[in-house]
Subunit: 362 residues, 2 copies
Amino acid sequence: MSAPTPPLTPAVDLAGTREAVDTCLTGFLDRKMRAAASEGMPTEAISVLRRFLTSGGKRLRPLLCVCGWCAAGGHGDTTTIVRAAASLEMFHAFALIHDDVMDRAATRRGAPTVHRRLAQHHREGRSMTAARHLGVSTAVLVGDLALAWSDELLPTVDLTSRQLGAVLPLIDVMRSEVMYGQYLDVTAAGHPTGDVEYALRIARYKTAKYTVERPLHIGAAMAGAPLAVREALSAFALPVGEAFQLRDDLLGVFGKPQITGKPSLDDLREGKHTVLVALALERATPSQRHILDALLGNPDLDDAGADRIRRVLTATGARAEAEHMIIIRRTQALRVLEAARLPPAATAALRKLTGAATARTS
Amino acid sequence: MSAPTPPLTPAVDLAGTREAVDTCLTGFLDRKMRAAASEGMPTEAISVLRRFLTSGGKRLRPLLCVCGWCAAGGHGDTTTIVRAAASLEMFHAFALIHDDVMDRAATRRGAPTVHRRLAQHHREGRSMTAARHLGVSTAVLVGDLALAWSDELLPTVDLTSRQLGAVLPLIDVMRSEVMYGQYLDVTAAGHPTGDVEYALRIARYKTAKYTVERPLHIGAAMAGAPLAVREALSAFALPVGEAFQLRDDLLGVFGKPQITGKPSLDDLREGKHTVLVALALERATPSQRHILDALLGNPDLDDAGADRIRRVLTATGARAEAEHMIIIRRTQALRVLEAARLPPAATAALRKLTGAATARTS
């Protein structure tokens, strides 16, 4: 492989983009907060969302959106593209808040999930059951607000009708894809099988398209990308996105909770139909399969049980195969990227994000 | 009061509008179904949503949207306004599906609610707890899809930038208002008080603005309504909407389940902070208050307990007062309507809808 091409145009400022997106999000929520306070509306919902959005997160989707814009020749004033990028992050807050309800997750980014925090907040004067239910109800509403507000953040009225016609259908498709992917994910949970293809389909819709391909496409469409650029971005995005999900599966089981910010039991307790688990079930001996069938999806799984599952995931070679699949996909993505002859600044930024997305520890 | 003015322009075709909206919705969902089937996506989510949307509903919001359009002088080709109206009904499906999860409602429109139906559908091979949780998760996702698709139904690309600038902010405001109103509603439930003003504030945001004012405004904005028309529509809408919610409160407690399609215990079991309940708590003697405090919000409330509550609601005069408040609001709305000098067809249709919304039995 040739040495990285030195950038000929100014580099994509990833740290600056991140900051601009965060400023856009907090400014938006602060305006919402003032308006709600003046009308006697529940500011609690907004402060919970603000805390969630500012408590971490890789901002991968906004960064990829800006990279897609650069890849298609976007340059100059970034106000409009930053708003579109911030809208994707707001949408992602919606997706995570609802996902955590569905996965009954207690912790995210090292802190209680939104439904847990709200249950705690409303505990006084209520039974535990009533408080937990209220935590779920209000978290669903906070997620709904984030979804509605992701729309409000879109710079719809500032776009030309040509841009609108290119961008809005991609936003629509992205939303349906991630919701469908999540639907496949929750209905398959509890009954994982050795069907690796099915697990890859979930990963493709829930993650590869949603997290990588569509943010790139949306950014590119803002800059009026021709079909060839969009196709090159897809060919790069899908393997990166699958590698991202494979890394997520591995971290969800073998990651250190103090680094990932989430417990390493949740995926196993929910019995998620991940590629990692499907690979193990496909290769398991009868006695290994017996262990997996008995323990995966058990809501009372303890650390000892989780260790038994981990040993089977390792012994079957599933863990090594998942790592191998990540390398294959990363290599393929980087090869596509070099061949695509995008503006060098975009190529350099995408190379960097590929590394961050697939070799991460959190 | 003078006799109804005979229409000088063709009447607003309410039945035809209803049919056109339904055709738009089912056509949209059928296209989604074909696309999902061809890509291996979960068609179950779509068929559940289609069944929900076609199993009843008054279509009040779409009809009011078209009335708002006529009120502002809209006429001729109805394709675009019907799409906007259908979008409101799709949004309403989202709101109801999520509300039923939050209210733990078992029945809606005489049939199991979406989360109950989905729990039943996924019962096999799962514990009751796991199936119920999956029912909730998938219902939240079906609601999320409906919210995303309400956006997709909006005829955004067919609107002029002037129309976009008028309509989109109203859609944004409507969404936030109903979500805020719902947030107030769920956090107040279980602890109703004699604070009638607070109950009216919930009714105003959750229902009056969402169900009546904003649909009228959105339709009017599509026809480029001047401020005066929007103000007249607000002055009409808010009392009608409050009356609508008061009727809803009464039907939720005193209605016949075989006509309303929902059980008459749910609101009482949830301990909803309605105007009806607040009026009773405000007027209750110590022994009546003791009954209400002991029984409202009790998840195990039975028919005998509900009858005891009903007797207190009647004996305190709360029921009669709620009926009286409906009459006052309806009269006020009709007076505003006569004075507004809207196109006679719009006036006639709004008069008809006012009757249907406030004197209904389901």
